[in-house]
């Protein structure tokens, strides 16, 4: 066990003191162990703490619970990465309020080229498809995908990276002994295997609503850029984008249908100057000076695979139609005037070839 670990954890878990103040304190005292031992006068002399802060540092309340937290950490096979650890992400260190301690399951690396992919929890089929595709392609280029493991786009982003066995990191808003949302249990295990699940909250912390905006600064802080795939008008993803700008990160946004609620936020981001992304290449172009990290240019497996499939004329006309917009089977039938039974078989055949996708509700869209 790391000799100073107890004090680090104690310090990280102190409530009532902002992370920013904690970082300043660490600059003055060098080591949390010294803060642990400091008396009220020494603490007051720093000039950054108010009376309540000092009381909470001196109180025994937090000192007594540390042992329990450490026990939990061992029980759950977690690592603790502190600000001074060698594998604390460099990029994250440079934001104004980096987390003092990170609880980690999996492997965390100090210098890693990461891109955050975030978006709405209630994503559309379009958003999910694109998030998966771009994340997968980024992962193929040795770029780590950072996201929040929430439902919708976050899940799609992790899945995209996992589908090509690429690295991905999930930043949680609760203790690592929790799985939130619960349906992602299996995926979380995979993320631990291929990357890491991290959190600044100690084991046992609930997924409280106010944790998530705070968590978002880590998502953007760890990454060189943030891709917002879909976001409503007042979405948490827009907070992440805002934080990314404050931290000096790039913001990329996926354009969407102007009518769709899910694309209001991203289209607004583009209006405000975010980089419009239509393919992975648009992101790679922005990252070209990071090639030293071992980034590869993307290989075009997809178009190769598609050119091999044989598609007959009817199928081709359906694909042409669907590449304009996603359509319901009735609408396709009306436009092409093919008989319903035949259309069913064309759609099934295209779906099995992996060229189109059936969404719940009976809509069909192009699989990209």
């Amino acid at each position: 066990m790391n000799p100073g670990l107890k004090e680090w954890i104690w310090f990280a878990n102190l409530k009532g003191i902002t992370t920013r103040k904690k970082v300043e304190l660490l600059r003055i005292f060098n080591d949390p162990a010294e803060i642990y031992r400091a008396d009220a006068i020494e603490l007051a002399r720093t000039g950054i703490l108010n009376r309540d802060n000092i009381t909470s540092i001196l109180s025994s309340e937090y000192r007594d619970t540390v042992d329990g937290t450490i026990e939990e950490i061992y029980k759950n096979h977690m690592d603790v990465v502190t600000l001074t650890s060698s594998n604390y992400p460099e990029l994250l260190k440079n934001i104004c309020d980096p987390p003092v301690c990170l609880y980690v399951k999996g492997k965390l690396r100090a210098d890693e080229l990461s891109v955050a992919v975030v978006g709405s929890r209630r994503a559309s089929g379009y958003g999910i498809t694109v998030a998966k595709k771009i994340s997968g392609e980024l992962a193929l280029c040795n770029i780590c995908i950072v996201s929040g493991m929430a439902r919708g786009i976050d899940t799609a982003a992790h899945m995209g990276a996992l589908s090509v066995k690429g690295r991905t990191i999930a930043v949680l808003g609760c203790g690592l002994d929790r799985v939130y949302p619960p349906e992602n249990k299996k995926m979380m295990e995979q993320i631990i295997e291929y990357g890491a699940v991290i959190s600044e909250y100690p084991p046992g912390a609930e997924p409280a609503p106010h944790h998530f905006p705070v968590r978002n600064r880590i998502v953007s802080g760890m990454s060189v850029g943030v891709l917002v795939v879909e976001a409503g008008e007042r979405s948490g993803s827009l907070i992440t984008a805002q934080l990314a700008l404050e931290q000096g990160r790039d913001v990329y946004a996926l354009p969407g249908n102007v009518i769709s609620v899910n694309s209001k936020g991203t289209n607004k981001l583009i209006q405000d100057g975010a980089k419009l992304v239509t393919s992975v290449q648009d992101i790679l172009d922005e990252l070209h000076w990071y090639e030293c990290f071992g980034m590869k240019s993307v290989l075009d497996f997809e178009s190769e695979r598609k050119s091999k499939l044989n598609i007959d004329t009817d199928e081709k006309s359906v694909i042409e139609l669907l590449s304009l917009e996603s359509l319901h089977i009735d609408e396709i039938q009306k436009k092409l005037s093919i008989s319903m039974p035949l259309l069913h078989s064309i759609l099934l055949s295209l779906e099995m070839k992996g060229l189109i996708k059936r969404e719940p509700g009976g809509r069909y869209s192009i699989q990209i």
């Binding site: 609620v261 009735d330 099934l348 055949s349 099995m352 719940p360 009976g362």
Partner: protein, 510 residues
């Protein structure tokens, strides 16, 4: 003196012969009815006494004993009034006893001696004919119903005194001619028609397939997408009723007392749409004296369950066996009864509690778990019995405005009839009549696939994540689609379409 009158009782939807034996002997004036009659039979004493007096005869002030044989079966209802009254009049010598020997009497008496309608006349008439009786006397209102049965003379009786005059030979009552003739076309006249529904082509197609093969169908879609409207038009494309089928339906309605007075046969396929608060008992049948439930009332027609997930869990689970077997067996203290229920289940469900999940124009307010939980209320075994599942999208305005005429029901029905005829020929020796009823060995026999088709099916299973339980359903539906086309063999287009009707298996909603 002793007299014997024939009448009929009811067991489930079948009748049985009851002989009403009346003995008038010396002794203190008394009136006893034995033979396990219910309260309505016991109360008949007062009706009979008044009816005989008010018809201008004298009620014998002697010891009267009436036995309803067989005496160990429970008798219920008021249809024994007329035979008992006739028995008393014959036993007291008002008219000759042998006039009664080859006829059956049914009817409730009112105090003035006129007859009132009773229920279950059709099955009773059928029994009477089977037992070789040549005449049945029924109340006026029931005569048309009875006249449907050929091979027995049906004589409507206005009142007790008219019956006596008839037996005395003073004023002969005339039999009612069988009024039922071929009825095709007529009965669909005022029904809702598919021509009124704009758009929704693929749902109409799915309903056509369901009608052609007798498959159960589930529609999933937002409120206002027209699920109910589509389902209500289902009877208009169901195959024409044969005489035997009409008879079978009428029997059930007759027993349930739901036959409109003065009507002969039920000539339309029934469409039953119970509300989702229905209890399990009213759904499958039951009660102290078991009556047919909604599934049986929908026999050979459509049982429409709107808002399927809102039905009580118990109500849905009791449907499993009847949907599988085509009959319900109900046991109660008063006996056990079997009611047929070969019905096509058409169900409709919203995709989530608020209904707007997947709706493009309105926002869904449910959480993801709620969405999952909503359709999750439908148990696997129940969904197993639903061959076809379709989504019904919300219509956009241009669809509603479109002037393009939709296909009318009568054209669809023609195709359905054709497909049903093929099936009837195929299954003529097997005791079933449509593809949905095929058992596994029959599926193997009648749904043989070529190499190309089985390859397609195998590939679809692995690439679309279908479950094993859909395998036979897909084959059955594919068979129906082939029949609609008049094709001998199932080809890959048929299989493809059938696969498209398995949306719930593919976890598209989960």
């Amino acid at each position: 003196m002793l007299s014997k009158v024939n009448t009929c009782g009811l067991l489930g939807i079948d009748g049985y012969m009851v002989s009403v034996e009346t003995d008038i002997s010396k002794g203190l004036p008394a009136f006893e009815i034995v033979g396990l009659g219910d309260a309505a039979v016991k109360e008949a004493k007062e009706r009979i006494r008044a009816a005989i007096r008010n018809s201008g005869f004298e009620f014998p002030s002697r010891r009267i004993t009436i036995n309803l044989a067989p005496a160990d079966l429970k008798k219920e209802g008021t249809s024994y009034d007329l035979p008992m009254a006739a028995g008393i009049l014959a036993a007291s010598g008002i008219f000759p006893c042998d006039a009664l020997s080859n006829c059956v009497l049914l009817g409730e008496l009112s105090l003035d001696g006129t007859l009132r309608p009773v229920y279950g006349v059709l099955p009773k008439t059928i029994t009477a004919r089977e037992k070789g009786f040549d005449t049945i006397f029924t109340p006026y209102e029931n005569a048309k119903e009875a006249a449907v049965v050929k091979g027995i003379k049906v004589i409507p009786v206005p009142g007790l005194s008219d019956l006596v005059k008839h037996f005395r030979g003073e004023n002969i009552l005339l039999p009612l001619e069988s009024s039922w003739s071929s009825h095709s076309g007529e009965e669909h006249k005022n029904e809702p028609d598919f021509a009124d529904v704009k758009g929704q082509g693929h749902v109409k197609r799915a309903l056509e397939v369901a009608a052609a093969g007798g498959h159960n169908l589930l529609m999933i879609g937002s409120p206002g997408s027209g699920k109910t409207m589509l389902a209500r038009r289902m009877p208009s494309i169901l195959p024409d009723l044969s005489f035997e089928e009409a008879l079978e339906i009428t029997k059930i309605y007759s027993v349930a007392g739901l036959l409109p007075p003065d009507s002969a046969l039920v000539t339309k396929r029934p469409f039953r749409a119970p509300h989702h608060t229905i209890s399990p008992v009213s759904l499958v049948g039951g009660g102290r004296i078991p009556k047919p439930g909604e599934v049986s009332l929908a026999h050979l027609g459509v049982l429409f369950l709107d808002e399927l997930p809102e039905f009580g869990k118990n109500a849905l689970e009791v449907l499993r066996q009847p949907l599988e077997d085509g009959f319900v067996h109900i046991s109660r203290i008063n006996g056990s009864f079997t009611y047929p229920c070969n019905t096509t289940l058409i169900a409709a469900a919203n995709p989530c509690r608020c209904g707007f999940y997947l709706d493009e124009t309105r926002e869904c307010t449910c959480t993801l778990q709620e969405v999952k939980a909503y359709l999750g209320r439908l148990s696997g075994p129940l969904l197993d019995r639903i061959d076809i599942q379709v989504d019904v999208p919300t219509l956009n305005y241009s669809d509603l405005e479109s002037e393009e005429p939709a296909e009318p029901s009568c054209i669809i029905r023609e195709r359905v009839n054709k497909a049903r005829n093929i099936q009837r020929n195929r299954f003529s020796q097997t005791g079933i009549y449509c593809n949905a009823q095929m058992t596994s060995p029959m599926v193997r026999k009648y749904c043989r696939l070529g190499k190309e088709e089985s390859d397609l099916l195998r590939e679809a299973f692995s690439s679309l994540g279908l479950t094993a339980r859909s395998h036979n359903k897909i084959l059955k539906v594919a068979r129906t689609i082939a029949d609609l086309e008049g094709a001998e063999n199932i080809n890959s287009v048929h299989i493809s379409e059938a696969i498209q009707y398995r949306i719930l298996d593919r976890n598209l909603y989960k």
